[in-house]
Amino acid sequence: MSIRRLPVYLLLDCSSSMAGQAIEQVRQGIRALLDDLSTEPMAIETVYLSVITFHSTAQQVIPLTELMQFTEPLIQASGATSLGAALRLLKDCLEREVKKNTLEQKGDWKPLVFLMTDGMPTDAWEATADEIKQLKMLNLIAFAAGPGAEVKNLKRLTDIVLKSDDLSPGALKAFFKWMSQSIVRTGKSVQVMAQEASIDLPPPPPQIHIVP
């Protein structure tokens, strides 16, 4: 009996405004996330990770991969903020990679998507955002990192929006730490979740607050 997978997608803004310390913090954040998750038996068993980066274009730098097989992607900051392209790519990936529940097979758990952005989208993103918000089959958590990110835009995409007032290394590090706690908590509670209830997330660290 194969065990259900918990697909986790990271959508990371790698536009030029992230250059320098911020992108370095993202790299370290991914490493810390992997370190944290790979001490947790539940995560090793069920978590599958994918990374989608976006700047002037969007690309899936790591396809959905079993935690212990996952190798850190090489990520660079440059270019614009093609959020629309990233969301379209996410939709494709979910369609292609997430195992559906059918009468014949037990599908994957509802995917967890973490979107991190520090700026305003530079392409058309609204229509895809509306489509994604209609999709019931994922839990999307958006993180507005610093003053440049527009919370209103992210709210159009998902109800769960977090914000930090600055783009400090501390805030990014805290976000990745919180992300790993959220993944573990979701993995452990997923089966007791009432059908339409929103996911039970741990309280965010002090630098980050939930936008009501």
Binding site: M1, P41, E45, T102, E104, D108, K188, Q191, V192, M193
Partner: protein, 477 residues
């Protein structure tokens, strides 16, 4: 630099300020001597759990089986990581001993991390562990006995653990020991109700099926001794067979994985090895069916996962598991294949050919079997159990006397052992003062008597002493 905390009994404890762990309910710190940890509850307990202090007081005193004043307190303190103090300042918490070192991985990538049961029951995770950490199958059998005993002890006190799971039972397959942790949320019936939903996979079907109801709904089922009995059965099945008893292929909802799981482990839960309903049986089949564990354990599994699955009062009690597993222990036989993955298997008397179910290696030599009988009423000798004999097998007091049970307090000195010597099976007396052979002759200590098919031995002439009838399995092969 250390901080200080004050216990309810007045002791002042120094602890290290760096947090070493964090759960959903607690923050954990080392004491200065690193022999204990301090766990502080998060949030404002006056708001969330005003009864917490009173509950802890009860758990640490009246209900505490590890106190030295209680019978076998030392023994039980090896099976439970029981809190040793209540912290009242700077805020409410509990002090518990650090887990013994054998419950941390000694080697491999996860060296130093706790040996939660999950690592060992999931084939995927187990394969990531060094072979030296994986332990042998007979040690998992031991772990089951110890765990059933620990749960039996809690239940005897009227307590329910309420969250028995692969997360809250540490196991050491290297030595065959188990440690029940997270004692501070024990449920004291009629006094303190459970504060956790439990861990997915171990939550009883009736609790999961009513999990969505409001806290004050009279139909909502909460964790209690019956739900512990379900979790215990799941753990035992997982330790011995490395699969979950209810997670099969049957789909109950295509709406979502979450809804399907809720039904598959809750309202619609169905044993993957249900003898009449095969609709949840894995399509690939099961290479080791539950029946490989022998008739006693099979019956207990049916009781837990067929009859009692949706009827909590029909579930086997922890003591039934303890007794059933010990009875089955007497039927363990070493696999003749030195490369067998399991090394031991349960001899099933009704099978036409005795073979190891794990590697299919047949046993080609006769196996002596002792049928133990005891005098229940004068002159009436009734069957008490069986013991499979192999080279080096020992007889203990619980085989010799029908009123001795191999519980925590039992004398573990071997009374006699069996040896295959010059083509004969011998029983060598080590401590039996009145062992008598079939022809009525006493067999003195350090003397041997042959085990021949059809012969009868009186293991002891004292009251409650048993008779052993010898038969040969596999005779003529």
């Amino acid at each position: 630099m250390t901080e200080t905390a004050q216990l309810e009994d007045g002791r002042v404890i120094e602890y290290l300020p760096e947090m070493i762990g964090e759960g959903t309910m607690k923050e954990v710190y080392f004491t200065k001597d690193q022999e204990s940890v301090l766990c502080f509850y998060k949030g404002d307990l006056n708001q969330t759990d005003p009864q917490r202090l009173r509950r802890l007081q009860q758990i640490l005193t009246g209900f505490n089986p590890t106190l030295s004043a209680k019978k076998q307190g030392d023994y039980w303190s090896k099976l439970f990581c029981w809190p040793t103090g209540i912290i009242v300042k700077p805020r409410l918490g509990v002090m518990t001993p650090v887990y013994p070192s054998n419950y941390f991985f000694a080697s491999g990538r996860w060296q130093g991390r706790e040996k939660k049961g999950r690592w060992f029951v999931s084939p995927k995770l187990r394969n990531l562990l060094p072979v030296a950490e994986q332990g042998s199958w007979i040690n998992y059998f031991k772990i089951c006995i110890v765990l059933a005993r620990a749960v039996r002890r809690l239940h005897a006190e009227g307590l329910a653990h309420s969250d028995l799971s692969d997360n809250n039972v540490l196991i050491d397959p290297v030595t065959g020991q188990a440690l029940v942790i997270d004692i501070d949320s024990l449920v004291v019936p009629n006094l303190f109700s459970p504060d956790v939903d439990g861990t997915p996979g171990y939550i009883a079907p009736e609790v999961l099926a009513t999990a969505g109801l409001r806290a004050n709904d009279p139909h909502k089922k909460l964790a209690d001794i019956r739900t512990d009995q379900h979790a215990l059965a799941v753990l035992i099945y997982e330790y011995l067979l490395n699969r979950h008893p209810l997670r099969g292929p049957k789909v109950h909802s295509i709406h979502s994985a979450e809804e399907d799981e809720q039904l598959s482990l809750g309202e619609k839960a169905l044993f993957i090895e249900h003898p009449q309903d095969s609709s949840n049986r894995p399509a690939t089949g099961l290479s080791i069916p539950v029946t490989a564990l022998g008739p006693t354990v099979t019956e207990l599994c049916y009781k837990a996962f067929v009859k009692g699955l949706h009827s909590p009062y029909l579930r086997p009690a922890a003591y039934e598991w303890e007794r059933g597993l010990i009875k089955t222990w007497n039927m363990l036989y070493p696999c003749p294949n030195p490369n067998c993955t399991h090394h031991w298997f349960v001899v099933i008397l009704t099978e036409p050919i005795i073979k190891c179910p794990f590697c299919q290696t047949p046993v080609n030599t006769p196996i002596p079997l002792l049928m133990l009988r005891s005098e229940k009423r004068p002159g009436q000798w009734l069957r008490d159990g069986e013991l499979v004999i192999y080279h080096g097998q020992s007889l203990f007091k619980w085989h010799v006397f029908d009123n001795i049970f191999p519980g925590p307090e039992v004398d573990r000195e071997p009374q006699a052992y069996c040896s295959f010597h010059q083509n004969r099976w011998l029983l060598i007396n080590q401590a039996l003062t009145s062992l008598t052979s079939a022809n009525g002759n006493r067999v003195d200590i350090s003397k041997a008597v042959e085990l021949k098919a059809g012969s009868q031995l009186r293991l002891s002439q004292e009251s409650h002493g048993c008779i052993a009838e010898v038969s040969m399995l596999n005779y003529g092969r």
